[in-house]
């Protein structure tokens, strides 16, 4: 399937739950309401026409103070899906609220989501409901805060950690 057909299939199945669908330089994106994120992902994986069997990337964006996005939700979790069988791709975006930054975990759909979601938790402080082991992935446990948030002060220093035991 080509990009427009994938978006059309999602819109046909989910209707208004797909908040927005657009294409930019050949990449097709669907923005999904926060509540239905996992449901859409599951459909993408299991639908016989879509068959997105591979989660290429899972990351997040902090839109804090971004010109033109002041009134939208602060975060966005981004899924890049690829189908090995069909050789097609799609990008799913799920907006996330600043006050309750929680998204349903995709570990049950693609096992690789485990580390991706730990990284997003580490860097952006977005929690993934249902994740089996949500610990920091890159930073050390003693680290305070989430460094890729736009309000993390760029030259903030944290105390050096000494040798363990």
């Amino acid at each position: 399937m080509d990009g427009p057909a994938i978006l059309a299939r999602l819109q046909e199945r989910f209707g208004a739950t797909i908040l927005e669908a657009h294409e930019h330089r050949g990449d097709h994106t669907a923005v999904v309401g926060p509540a239905a994120g996992l449901e859409v992902l599951r459909f993408c994986r299991d639908d016989p026409a879509l068959r997105f069997d591979m989660l290429m990337d899972l990351t997040a964006v902090d839109w804090l103070k971004y010109p033109g996005r002041e009134d939208g939700l602060r975060f966005e979790v981004v899924y890049h899906l690829y189908s090995v069988a069909e050789n097609h791709r799609v990008r799913i975006k799920v907006p996330v609220d600043e006050d309750t930054p929680v998204v349903a975990s995709a570990v049950g759909l693609w096992a690789i989501a485990n580390w991706f979601e730990r990284e997003v938790w580490d860097m952006f402080g977005i929690r993934f409901e249902g994740h089996p082991d949500l610990r920091r992935l890159l930073m050390y446990e003693e680290f305070v805060g989430h460094p890729l948030r736009k309000d993390y002060v760029i030259n903030r220093r944290q105390p050096l950690i000494g040798p363990k035991n």
């Binding site: 890159l138 930073m139 050390y140 680290f143 460094p147 993390y152 760029i154 030259n155 903030r156 220093r157 944290q158 050096l160 950690i161 000494g162 040798p163 363990k164």
Partner: protein
Amino acid sequence: MSVGQFFTSKVDDAIGWARKFSIFTYPFVTACCGMEYMATACSHYDIDRFGAGLPRFSPRQADVLFVVGTVNHKMAPVLKRIYDQMTEPKWVVAFGQCTCTGAFYDNYAVVQGIDTIVPVDIYIPGCPPRPETVLDGLMKLQDKIAAEKQRA
């Protein structure tokens, strides 16, 4: 100068001369500076001329800790432990800009100069330093070793 003073200063000189030409390095290589370290260590630049040709990959057998490349906060305890495991006498060389000051990694992850963790004897600047710079630093370290009051 008494005979005794003359004798001890000459012994110091002899030990210093021996030590400066038997530098066993521990290459703590974490990043791209490692390529430049390898270039220096191989035949074109031949640091064996300075008696530093034998890297030891056990800190207990090494005299000089070469910290080559960016050290981040997660790595810092490891570096400290390696340094603590080395036996006296020991020296530390900060190889490259990242180890000297943190360089352009002015961010949440990178240690802003390894001298915040371990004492440093020689700073070799450069991003990465050219092999000539490294050899210059090594020779400065040799001078420092030779001039030290030897802790025999």
